[in-house]
Symmetry: C2
Subunit: 212 residues, 2 copies
């Protein structure tokens, strides 16, 4: 498969979400035009995006919802189970652990880790909070693939570096810092305060336009 | 000011974060080359991005860190205080409310709202959790500018629509749905499970490349 552009990849989860909603509504097929109206993108964008992966649609029929859902799921790697642990069991870590839908979508959260004695032993929906001193042994023993970092930036970098030495290949990083690794290590950042700043940028841009 | 491209806007918060770190380290000036090495982008990209706003730099001197930090802060609308409330006081809502840095960055979280009686009355770092039945009156009475939606998708859409009627102009949307409003209403989405899917896409892309 050719390297797919980041922009296309970033749209796949949204297709997946809309197809899931259609599937739940027992809708069997949909045209690129109907899908485009729902998703507020152009039909030609949808066709182009999906053509990157060989198409999936048939002229005059459109897309089979369940088939397209399954195929995009495979592209997104959701047909295999990904073991994930969460480092940092504060509100954010617990919010992720308690999000019930992850298990249906190919993610298995097997443990959370924290150094706070008040949290250790507490159970979330999917896993227990463990003492962070067991983190590295646990990761090595359990083939953990993804680590979610929901802790402050100062410890995050150092812990991430040690986790790489334990074989972790992917981080879902909520810490307010950039992790710098070789290209071999995958990092997906969620910088919440940066997202909020994009919002306030747009507010002030709008206010400036009204004033000028 | 001309309309700035989304790509440039999306990079501003990251400049702001790095400049903040330099500022904390008492570094007074920095060249685009040094900044580019820290941030792992090209120096020409930095110069181009900042030229959209009139430059800020001086040839042979580079950038004054504090000045550039302040100016980008103004661009991001952080020089004025934005009143925000959070609807949905579960773990995610509380995580946001307890993030202490928001107040220093121009955001004031004045209340959280939930329908769960076990949560109502509980205090977070910055605000108290109130009964959701007071939400609309509160928003109208307090000139709330931004509403963070940290609740399931089913109630989110309906509540957001009513909030728009109460004068809310901007949503920071964590609900797993797209809010559809006129262009006048600003929506910044944080779809956490979509971010996680981008991560697993990259994992399977890497695995496929190794196999093929």
């Amino acid at each position: 498969m050719n390297k797919i552009s980041k922009a296309v990849v970033s749209r796949l989860p949204r297709y997946y979400r809309y197809l899931d909603e259609l599937r739940v509504q027992k809708i069997e097929r949909i045209s690129s035009k109907e899908l485009s109206q729902m998703m507020n993108v152009t039909a030609s964008q949808i066709r182009q995006d999906l053509n990157n992966f060989g198409g999936f649609g048939q002229q005059g029929y459109g897309y089979n919802v369940q088939y397209l859902y399954d195929e995009i799921g495979k592209l997104l790697g959701l047909d295999v189970c990904h073991k994930m642990v969460i480092v940092g069991a504060g509100n954010l870590g617990q919010a992720i652990a308690n999000y019930g839908n992850f298990k249906n979508r190919g993610f298995e959260i097997t443990a959370l880790f924290d150094s706070n004695p008040d949290l250790i032993g507490k159970k979330t929906l999917n896993a227990e909070i463990m003492d962070i001193k067991y983190l590295y042994d646990y990761v090595k023993a359990n083939n953990v693939e993804i680590v979610a970092l929901t802790l402050p930036k100062e410890p995050a970098r150092k812990i991430a570096e040690q986790l790489v030495e334990c074989g972790v290949k992917a981080f879902w990083n909520f810490a307010h810092t950039d992790l710098k690794f070789s290209n071999d290590i995958i990092v997906e950042n969620v910088h919440l305060s940066e997202s909020l700043m994009k919002l306030t940028y747009r507010i002030s841009e709008k206010n400036n336009n009204i004033e000028s």
